[in-house]
Symmetry: D2
Subunit: 163 residues, 4 copies
Amino acid sequence: MICIFVTGGTFDKTYDEIEGKLSFRGTHLPEMLRLGRSRVAVSIETLMMIDSLDMTDRDRALIVGRCAGCGESRIVITHGTDTMVETAAAIARGVSGKTIVLTGAMIPYAFGSSDGLFNLGSALSFAGVLPPGVYIAMNGQYFVWNRVRKNRETGAFEEQEQG
Amino acid sequence: MICIFVTGGTFDKTYDEIEGKLSFRGTHLPEMLRLGRSRVAVSIETLMMIDSLDMTDRDRALIVGRCAGCGESRIVITHGTDTMVETAAAIARGVSGKTIVLTGAMIPYAFGSSDGLFNLGSALSFAGVLPPGVYIAMNGQYFVWNRVRKNRETGAFEEQEQG
Amino acid sequence: MICIFVTGGTFDKTYDEIEGKLSFRGTHLPEMLRLGRSRVAVSIETLMMIDSLDMTDRDRALIVGRCAGCGESRIVITHGTDTMVETAAAIARGVSGKTIVLTGAMIPYAFGSSDGLFNLGSALSFAGVLPPGVYIAMNGQYFVWNRVRKNRETGAFEEQEQG
Amino acid sequence: MICIFVTGGTFDKTYDEIEGKLSFRGTHLPEMLRLGRSRVAVSIETLMMIDSLDMTDRDRALIVGRCAGCGESRIVITHGTDTMVETAAAIARGVSGKTIVLTGAMIPYAFGSSDGLFNLGSALSFAGVLPPGVYIAMNGQYFVWNRVRKNRETGAFEEQEQG
C-alpha cells in the first residue's frame, strides 16, 4: 500500500471559468489513477491545496507529521515544483526509514497536455522499489532530496552536487 | 541510457479517417516523451509496428536479437498486451544480465484518455532501478516475466504463481 | 427547440479496450453539448447506433418517419459519413416543410482530436437559421442534399452539380 | 471568403509553464480549423492578443477600422467574453452592410475541454448565412448585438430586451 498525500501545486490547478483564472478545487488524483488504469493499492489524503510558493513552515510541519504518522512505509506526495526541494529537505530532517517520493507537474492535469500523468506513473513506480529515503521524481528521473535543484529558466529538475 | 524498442500494439494504434478503422502509422513515443517532459536519456528504435496477436516466432526472434545485441543494459519495449507475456518469456530465455521492461496500453495514446502515458512513465522508472531481469510494467505495477498473466475478462495484468 | 436524432457513425464510435476494436456504446451527444456549453434547447433521441455502411432501407424508413412525426420543425441528425447523402435523399423525398441538417465526424469524438465538436456547433447553428430543406453540414460548410457528394479519397464533402 | 480577426480572450489563453500562469502566445485558430477539418475559405489576421478587460477605446477603434476596411462582407472576431458586448456595440456604430459575428470561449482551447471549438464551428456557420448585422455567437446561439448581455454569475450570454 502506498499513501498519497496531496498538497496542491500545478498538478491540481484548474481553470475557473467565471473568474477567468487558475484556481484549486478538488484533487484530480482519483481521476488520473483511473485514467492510468492504476492497480497500485493506494490511500489518498488531501493535506492542503495550495501553490507551493505560498507554503509556510507550519504547512511543512503538517506534511512531515503526516509522513511520520501514517502507517505505511511508502509515500508519494504531489507538490508544486517551486518549493518541492525545500519540503523534501524538511521531510528528510523529520522522517526516517520510509521511502518518500515527491512529484508534481509543469502543466496542470486539467489541460489536456500535462506531464502529470507521466510523472504520477513514474513516482508510484519509484515509490514501490526505491530503498528508504526522500526523493524527487520529475521528468522520468529520480533525485535524492539533497542532490537536486529546480532550474528556474528551463523548469527542469537537475542533479546538483551536495553542498 | 535506456533503449526503447517499439513493436506496435494498442499503444501506437491510430484512427485512419479515410478507411474508418484503426491502423498503424509511425510511433507516438517521441511525442509522448515530449508531453511527459521526459529527461531520461533514451534511444528509440521501431522494430515492427504490429498487433501483438499477429506476432510470429520470427518477430520474437528479432526482438530477442536486438535486446541481446544493443549496447545498453536497460531496455523498455512497447508491445501489444495480448501476447506480451509470451514475448517476455522468449526474451528471458534468450537474454541475460539486462533489465528489460515490457509495457503497453489498453487504450491507444491517440485517444485522449490513454493509460499509455502513465505506463510509459512507470516503465522507464522501473527500467532505471530494477536489477537485471525481464519484467512487465502495467497498471503502475511490475511483474517478473514468469509470474504474470493477462486477465482477458478485465484486461488487467495479475500476479500468477509460477507453473 | 431542435430535435437531435442519433444514428451512430464515426461520431459515436468508441474504443472497446477488452476486444481491442472500435464499437458503439451510448451516444456522446449530451457530453459534447455540455463541453460546448450549449444552451440551445434540444431533445436527444437515439434511433439506432450503427455504422452507416450497415444502414438498411428499413433503417432509413425509420429515420424518415421520425423526422416527419416529431413535433419540431428544426432537426439535426448525427450520421456516418459514408451514406449520409443517401439518407439525406430519402428524407428529402419523405419530409417537407422542415429544416433538417445531417452531420457527422471523420474522427470519433472519443479520440481527443475530433472534428465532431466543431461540426456539432456548426450543424446546430445551420439548423437554427436555414429555411426548410434537407442539408448536410460538414467541414464548417452546408450543402443542399442533392448538390453534394463525399470525396472518398480526401474524406471531404464537396459541392456537386445536380444530376 | 470569411475574414477572421483575432483579438485574444480566453479562447487563446495558454499556460506559461515557467511563470506558472496564464498568458498569450500565438493564436490557436489555424490549429482549431485543422482539427475541425474546416473547409471554409478564411483569412486569419491577429489584431491584438489581450484580455478583453484590458481592451481600450483605441483597440476598439482599430477593430472597427479593420472590419470596415477589409474587402470581405462576412467577418468572425474572436474576443474575450467580458467586454464582447461593448465591442459589438462599437462595431455596430461604425460598420454597416456586413455580417459580423463575435465569438469566444469560457475555457481556453489549450485546455482539452474547451467550448472554443464548438463556438468556432457555430460562429463560422452563422457568419455564412445571417444577413448583414453585428452578432454575438456563444453557447450554440446567436444574439443581435443590442439584445444580449453576459450573465456574470453563470458565464452564459442571455437575450436582453433592448434598452
